[in-house]
Symmetry: C3
Subunit: 207 residues, 3 copies
């Protein structure tokens, strides 16, 4: 097993925990919690793969199914500690979106799409799972309202191409892009940086 | 018309009724109710087909469009009786998820996927329509919170493979799997068996 | 740039504005507002393309990404006027759904599907973006409850085939169909015509 797989699995585990915890807070049964955890972990990559017209990645290895099961088991066994471990999960989650973003960019490049599609696919891979999670638990997606999240993925995708344009090879570009996503995410939360909202607009009417 | 088609159409009709009734309770107009009924009936199979990369099944025969129309007509004409017929629809619905599960497993096998993907595709075929319905009417999906529903589909998919491993042919495995889904669903409701929730976990924070 | 492109871009712009305004009313940050605007503009066509198994249209030209950016800029700069311009946007939006419907019918015909699928694909292209928008902002989709919207698209698709059956060529059929969608939409709002709801049915139980 390569290093990148370990990171990928850690990211999946952290994403699944995030979904399972929020589902638990909504009184979902454990099967529902499993489904929400799974969708949080693989939803972004699945949307990407369907739009790239390739087989959804989780249908090719049972690992993602199993890791979500382990995440559920983990929450069941360590439920008291799961809340306290918030900061730990936050770091895992940030590592996860960093890697997922890079994987998304690479898969889109491999499918032959132009740069701007690849950046969007990286962002979708990193951020759409959390969006599906919030739709499932019937909340307004948090990634649209709080903190820098999808923006970190987008920034990472752009950094990737800045590296390529600067003459770096793909592997160096991937590493630097992933670190960028991680740093943007962690620093924006640490310094409580968020994007301005557009709230002053009255948009009560439907057009 | 073969027996399996009749069962398939009955399941579609029952699923469509379920969507139309819930849409009606939310003051949807009749067109919206039709759409919700249609999505309830074909949503699971459509998600399956998109992930298997085959043409969504309802685009190949007009039957599903027509049956949903008949379901709408039925609700309009017999609105007073529709509520009273709850138990009848429950049985139709249970027959529907049983057959949909088996159809989903078979379509996934035909597309060349491994066993565990086939079981998941069977579950998605049987259960995802109800999930889409609840998202459309802006409710937390009931299949995640109440009763054994998606679990019945999952159990049926597993029973299918237990039969195959026991040396039974595909047709026998299909019949036994479908009966299993039906029985798990009906008995769990009858005896008020439900999965435990994970509610004691505090998951108020977003990771 | 051909005339049809200009109309297409105007429709995209109007749809994006509609999404951005509603997202703003929900306190989304500007990135979230961009995403909701983009999904409103391209969501219907993307769902259509995934089901037709072709590459989502917006992945082939950067125009839709750029136009959504311009729509966001427009809302930011002219936020005070955006509300007052309601009627203007309503007309743009009606032009948009009219053209999107015809584009959807044509793409489905090109993919080799039968008439009734083409009409549905036209309706999905015109109306599903607004449905996704409402799911994202966690509202019951308005197209199911208010005014003639998806019905206008459906009517346009049917008019298209009535024209073809009457011996008209595809271009004439497209123009007449688009005008029909526009008129049905505008006149139904002007005369406050809406479909009856099904509200008298008690559907509190889940089947």
């Amino acid at each position: 097993m390569e290093f990148i797989n370990i990171i990928d699995y850690i990211g999946t585990f952290a994403f699944a925990i995030s979904g399972i915890r929020l589902a638990a807070a909504k009184n979902f049964d454990w099967f529902g919690a499993y489904v929400v955890g799974f969708v949080t972990a693989v939803g972004g990559g699945t949307l990407r793969d369907v739009m790239l017209d390739v087989t959804p990645f989780w249908m090719e290895h049972a690992s993602y199914i199993i890791i979500t099961g382990l995440a559920l088991l983990f929450v069941l066994v360590f439920r008291k500690y799961v809340v306290r471990l918030d900061n730990t999960f936050f770091i895992f989650d940030a590592v996860g979106i960093a890697l997922f973003t890079v994987v998304g960019v690479e898969k889109s490049i491999a499918a032959g799409f132009p740069m701007w599609v690849n950046v969007i696919m990286g962002t979708i891979t990193g951020a759409a799972g959390g969006m599906f999670r919030d739709i499932f638990i019937n909340e307004v997606p948090l990634i649209f309202r709080k903190e820098i999240y999808a923006m970190a993925c987008l920034a990472g995708g752009i950094v990737y191409y800045v590296c390529i344009w600067s003459g770096l090879g793909p592997v160096a570009a991937q590493i630097i892009a992933a670190i960028s996503v991680f740093l943007v995410r962690v620093l924006s939360v640490h310094f409580r940086i968020s994007l301005p909202s557009l709230k002053s607009i009255d948009a009560s009417s439907d057009s």
